[in-house]
């Protein structure tokens, strides 16, 4: 199908674009080694150097930002073009590190709310691979109650002075900018006293600490803000209207996690990550238990969940688009994925048996029990299972909302946790 580009000239046909991409990829992009995906490569790319180079290569060749507007360095093409390119590029090394959150969550939020100046400054730089972004939303003082955050930004002439702490930002240590939600009016009810800021991460007053997780990951970070001066022109959206911006950001996040974002490039949204390589059949073979009837049941159950998860995403996506489901129904596949992941970890542990306790270094069986330690990770990030259940019962089934003690109260009259003191 033909897409109209932003400036009105007829855009390239999808098929022609696909063939041109295919030829260019074959000539210029490195092929992935057998059995290795982009996520494996990414693990060894601690500072995203390789991803930045590859993003720049895409940009220079005219294949970056397929669905981004042309005036900000994108191609202004359709979702069909983007999907064609993603399929063509599946066998190649791609800068998937940029997909989530930079390209699929932060950049679209800047496009939605940014001033002309903000968009011109940041979107082209992102597409050139020069800026990696992250979101500063969650705080140590509260996970699920995002709008109850206590990081403060106090106006002082031409700047806002930021103090507090953020947590669970993925890869902040290698990133350049963040969207940071902070409280600017303590006398307003909680949703109406927040402002979203564009914050340069590596500057005096900001300390980034990587958090060591139980499974050895150190992607997550905590940031500490100590009198950080943010120019007033770096407010995204309106002062005290940050909740509107955050809400839109969270919709982009849901699309990104669910694989529905038009802004990614290459197969790399989190929802597309699970493949047959993670199936329990590999584990059954590795442990020599393929003829054990119990193990066969577990392997099949895992396959069932894998298939149903895909079918459920399709059903809910279709249903939201047609109006059959309200948009919060996005919580349904999210909760399915989280609970199926818990079950997956349990079944993997069951299959490896005694091997979960001790293993020869480097044996993939050992990873199973280490990953088991992180079993709840998928049920916590991006809104806990309990929050998803509130959303499904209240906003899909229409059941009464939970009592909230802070409803319509000035935030400074609401009981809340103190901002954490810094641990050194």
């Amino acid at each position: 199908m033909a897409a109209q580009s932003v400036i009105g000239a007829p855009a390239e046909e999808v098929e022609s674009f696909r063939l041109r991409a295919r030829a260019w990829l074959a000539e210029h992009m490195p092929r992935l080694p057998e059995g290795v995906d982009n996520y494996h490569l990414m693990r060894d790319d601690e500072f995203g150097v390789r991803a930045r180079e590859l993003q720049r290569t895409l940009y220079d060749a005219g294949f970056a930002g397929i669905c981004f507007p042309r005036e900000y360095g994108g191609l202004g093409l359709s979702r069909e073009h983007q999907q064609a390119f993603s399929r063509e590029s599946a066998a190649y090394e791609m800068p998937v590190l940029f997909n989530v959150p930079t390209l699929s969550i932060l950049a679209p939020t800047i496009l939605d709310f940014g001033t002309e100046e903000q968009k011109r400054r940041h979107i082209p730089a992102i597409l050139r691979g020069e800026e990696m972004w992250v979101q500063f939303l969650s705080e140590p003082s509260g996970g699920s109650d995002l709008a109850g955050l206590v990081t403060r930004a106090t106006r002082d002439g031409d700047v806002f002075v930021l103090n507090g702490s953020k947590i669970w930002s993925s890869g902040a240590f290698r990133s350049d900018y963040a969207l940071c939600l902070a409280r600017t009016d303590w006398h307003a009810p909680k949703h109406r006293g927040l402002t979203m800021f564009i914050v340069k991460i590596h500057q005096p007053g900001i300390e980034v600490q990587q958090i060591r997780m139980v499974n050895g990951w150190n992607e997550f970070c905590q940031e500490f803000f100590d009198d950080v001066a943010i120019p007033a022109e770096d407010v995204l959206g309106q002062v005290n209207d940050g909740w509107t911006v955050a809400s839109r950001l969270l919709i982009h996040e849901r699309d990104a996690v669910g694989g529905a974002s038009r802004y990614t490039s290459g197969l790399g949204a989190a929802g597309e990550r699970s493949g047959s390589a993670t199936g329990l059949d590999h584990l059954a073979r590795a442990t020599g238990r393929t003829s054990d009837p119990t193990v066969r049941q577990l392997v099949a159950e895992d396959r069932v969940h894998e298939r149903v998860a895909q079918q459920l995403v399709r059903r809910v996506t279709t249903g939201i688009a047609s109006g059959y489901f309200p948009p919060p129904a996005g919580a349904i596949p999210r909760l399915f994925a989280a609970t199926a992941n818990e079950r997956h970890r349990d079944m993997a542990l069951e299959i490896v048996g005694r091997g979960a306790a001790a293993w020869t270094e480097g044996d993939p069986v050992g990873e199973v029990s280490v990953e088991y330690l992180f079993r709840q990770g998928g049920s916590l990030g991006g809104g806990s299972n309990e929050m998803q259940r509130n959303i499904i019962s209240e906003r899909v089934l229409g059941m009464p909302r939970e009592y909230a003690a802070d409803k319509d109260k000035p935030f400074d009259e609401v009981r809340h946790n103190a901002a954490p003191s810094r641990v050194r």
Partner: protein
């Protein structure tokens, strides 16, 4: 239910729904279960056939035809509506036999059997299961049809078989020289005895079929001797996909009624729906219910389109639906309180329906074994 159904399909579904609601509400289903030999009046089934219930998997040359081009998807809408009202009637059995005849029958067989099935004057059933054997997978059938000249002699027991007592035609899956072979057997053939069983589903009848020296000529063969494996697999896929649709309808109806109950029922001055402990259970049930619909739709589409992966997708659906439909219904019982375990409440009718469909043509466990085998384990 498939959210991507066409306007024609929606009209078709609505017509069946209205017919069922007006002629066979659950109170009527209860009465019929006690008064009617087959669980429904014969004329009622014939009227359903006029709406298309028995013609969707039959070729146009034999008086059939689909609504959407995917007859199985159309029929799944009927199955789901019948699940919603725990309707009686041999929908799955008659259709799978009609489909098999339409696909593999000779002109004589089609002319002899299909008009009656399509018109609703007669019904048919498929005798696959055998006592003590799993109903899916390579071990399902052990009944040997012994050759006697150009004739075949069957002796053994098939069962449990739904609608065997009311069926005019039996499709019997057996082995000849150890290879799967199917026979179309008139129920009146000497040596065929239907022995009723106590069935869990009040609205439907179920029996063992005893075959005692049943002698059949080659005109009773459906397809070639020893060459029925693909046809049997196809029949299994059709039945299982429709079982899932029927269970999906049953669970959807009872979940909807339980949600309404939670809004209407007050304890300690509050609606049940306001308690977070219960809201979270409803959220889980909603999740499982939508997953049931999603995987049923996936299986129905795939089988209807005769995709290669349909073999796996029907077993995925049967495993998921069979496991979770009962979980949801038992939770609905719990949330209703004591009334939920009384005879007068409709819940047990739905539980009975789901237990039957869950258990026949492969339990969830048996379908998981099938999936594992399909993965090369």
């Amino acid at each position: 239910m498939d959210l991507e159904r066409s306007d024609d399909q929606e009209l078709f579904r609505e017509t069946t729904r209205k017919f069922l609601e007006s002629t066979a509400p659950v109170s009527t289903v209860r009465q019929w279960s006690e008064k009617e030999a087959a669980g429904y009046p014969v004329d009622w089934w014939r009227r359903g056939a006029e709406l298309g219930w028995t013609s969707l998997l039959v070729g146009e040359a034999d008086g059939g035809g689909s609504v959407s081009g995917n007859g199985l998807a159309d029929l799944a809408l009927v199955a789901e509506e019948m699940g919603r009202l725990v309707s009686p009637g041999p929908l799955l059995m008659t259709n799978v036999v009609a489909a098999a005849l339409s696909e593999a029958g000779t002109a004589e067989q089609r002319a002899a059997v299909l008009p009656g099935l399509v018109g609703g004057e007669t019904v048919a059933t498929w005798c696959l299961a055998e006592p003590g054997r799993p109903a899916c997978g390579g071990e399902a059938v052990a009944l040997e049809a012994a050759r006697q000249g150009d004739r075949f002699v069957l002796s053994g027991v098939k069962g449990p078989v739904e609608a065997a007592a009311e069926a005019g035609h039996l499709l019997v899956t057996a082995l000849v020289d150890g290879r799967p072979t199917q026979f179309v057997v008139p129920a009146s053939t000497p040596g065929v005895t239907v022995v009723p069983l106590q069935g869990i589903d009040l609205a439907r009848r179920i029996a063992d079929v005893h075959l005692d020296g049943v002698t059949l000529g080659p005109e009773h063969l459906l397809g070639e001797v020893g060459d029925a494996a693909a046809q049997v697999e196809r029949q299994l896929q059709v039945v299982v996909a429709l079982q899932c649709a029927m269970m999906a309808g049953a669970v959807d109806e009872m979940f909807t009624r339980t949600v309404e109950y939670a809004f209407d029922r007050y304890s300690f001055g509050r609606a049940l729906a306001s308690y977070q402990a219960l809201k979270h259970r409803f959220a889980d049930m909603k999740l499982w219910l939508e997953a049931i619909h999603a995987t049923t739709t996936g299986a129905v589409r795939s089988v209807g389109a005769r995709e290669e992966r349909a073999a796996e997708l029907v077993s995925v659906a049967k495993s998921y639906v069979g496991t979770n439909a009962t979980v949801i219904l038992q939770d609905c019982v719990q949330l209703h309180g004591g009334i939920g375990v009384t005879w007068d409440h409709d819940l047990h009718l739905y539980l009975r329906r789901v237990v039957q469909e869950r258990s026949l043509f492969g339990t969830p466990e048996e379908h998981r074994e099938r999936i594992a085998a399909g993965m090369g384990l």
